[in-house]
Symmetry: C2
Subunit: 306 residues, 2 copies
């Protein structure tokens, strides 16, 4: 009913970062792709198999260092139901290794349909006289454009099952300001959305002062990160845009509170493709991911007040 489970893992590992698993098949080393394609043909099934093996190898190398992974649903849906099966398998595998899993789905809908998404990704589905877990992640990213009707069903499951959500507030992309920076009275849309996050989370605040309703705020907008950290004292931040999208560690300082908590910073491609950047043997891809994870942890910790 808060982000305490995640925050405890961050403290334990001294690492406020999350690794995004957005595995385009082109990121997967050729020797793995070749093995999977020779086994299943050049098919969605073959691609999905390669991705699962890639994900597991990376998780094996990083789970002792990193508190969480963030699989991005789009990169699994690309491979049809076989890809979505790999999403499920990746979530379970990481959880078995003790990791916190946040599915980046940016889901949004209303009423019964939002309940269906909440059930799918965070809850348990009724089947006959019993229940079964569909995806079973620990947190889900969501889009709040539809208002409270789209968030209330999530709050119920967050409360019951100790899960969390991250609502898009100020996204990291260049055109995010087209709507999000527009002013409603004197207040930008992103701050209006942020205020709604504070309100939605107000009944579910944990021991570190953060609720189960977090916010996505891009590393590419350091001023807004600082402004929103002040404005939203109970809202934990998921911060994309470090590394591949151009945001550096210095700009992240404002995302953290005086205890060095309050945010978790994502990196996806820089970790998955570290072996390409290093230029090492592709069979070293998971070790290279581990080296990048350590570099990133130390880089980010260096700007946090402790």
């Amino acid at each position: 009913m808060s982000f305490d489970r995640l925050i405890k893992k961050i403290i334990e590992k001294k690492n406020p970062t999350v690794v995004g698993l957005d595995p385009l098949v082109d990121y997967v080393p050729e020797y793995i792709r070749n093995e999977s394609f020779s086994r299943y043909g050049e098919t969605l099934e073959g691609a999905a198999d390669a991705i699962l093996r890639f994900n597991k190898a990376i998780i094996d190398e990083i789970y002792d260092l990193v508190p969480a992974i963030k699989p991005q649903a789009a990169y699994y849906e690309m491979y049809g139901w076989r890809g979505v099966k790999v999403l499920e398998e990746t979530i379970r595998y990481a959880q078995e290794k003790g990791m916190f899993v946040m599915t980046d789905g940016k889901r949004n809908d209303i009423g019964a349909t939002m309940t269906a998404y909440a059930t799918a990704h965070l809850g348990e589905t009724a089947v006959g006289s019993g229940v079964a877990e569909a995806f079973g992640a620990d947190a889900l990213t969501v889009n709040g454009y539809l208002g409270t009707d789209g968030i209330a069903p999530l709050l119920e499951i967050c409360g019951k099952k100790d899960k969390g959500i991250f609502v898009l507030v100020k996204t990291s992309n260049k055109s995010s300001g087209e709507l999000q920076d527009q002013k409603i009275g004197d207040t930008p849309v992103y701050a209006v959305m942020g205020d709604m996050c504070e309100k939605w989370g107000s009944e579910q605040i944990g021991e570190y002062g953060y609720s189960s309703v977090g916010a996505v705020v891009g590393a590419t907008y350091p001023e807004q990160l600082t402004e929103l950290r002040q404005r939203l004292p109970h809202t934990f931040f998921l911060v994309p845009g470090y590394g591949a999208q151009g945001g550096g560690a210095e700009g992240l300082k404002g995302a953290f509170d005086k205890n060095g908590l309050g945010a978790i910073v994502n990196s996806s491609r820089a970790v998955m493709c570290a072996y390409k950047k290093e230029g090492c043997d592709e069979k070293e891809f998971a070790k290279a991911a581990r080296r990048e994870v350590i570099r990133m942890r130390d880089d980010i910790n260096s700007v946090i007040n402790k």
Copy 2:
């Protein structure tokens, strides 16, 4: 590169409606559930099997009358990858019967990730030296909160593969006004989003004057429907909220243009659960759905200027 394919089907069938397939397993008649559960156990697999059989039976009874179906992704994701497999199978089955399929996924992201969603739902995925279709719908609902970066990748696929998108503009739920009715200057957020739809679609306008970028506008807000129809002359509307959510046919008049085109009205539960409302034998569920589809078509046509 426009909604012409959909509009031609609407004209041919004299029916501006779409049937939402949001199949909670509780909507499925007991005799089908029992058969599926006895075959696969009370599992996600059993539930998914029941849903596929339910969907196919309804499609068989309505495809000659209705131009399109709108499967809602949440109700498939609830059943894990087995449910998502049924989403794929439902899309293909309806397309084989000549129906236009709009996946209601309200997807949203930026850059490469939005390209992955566009590829997943409307395009073709690269696998090795070839390509394969993942979900292959004809249109997808999306959320434009992230701005142009989140829409541009879709436009590219719409142009290349003659597909369409519906952007959330004014949603049908009670709390939609919390953000969407707020004023930016003198303009409500929903109208700002609507104006973006006109801009995004401006290069892809078809023979009926509508682009490949449609908008979701709820039947529950008749004034805004009328206002937006005037304001957004090239934007085709997907209108939820008729029937189950309380909107009636009279309020829909303003959604249509002077040629009786410009909108397609969705009904989900009233069609899927028509057999419950009628109180007929549950084995008649598909015939009851057909009767409701005819009633709805005639009800809506009665308010359209021809």
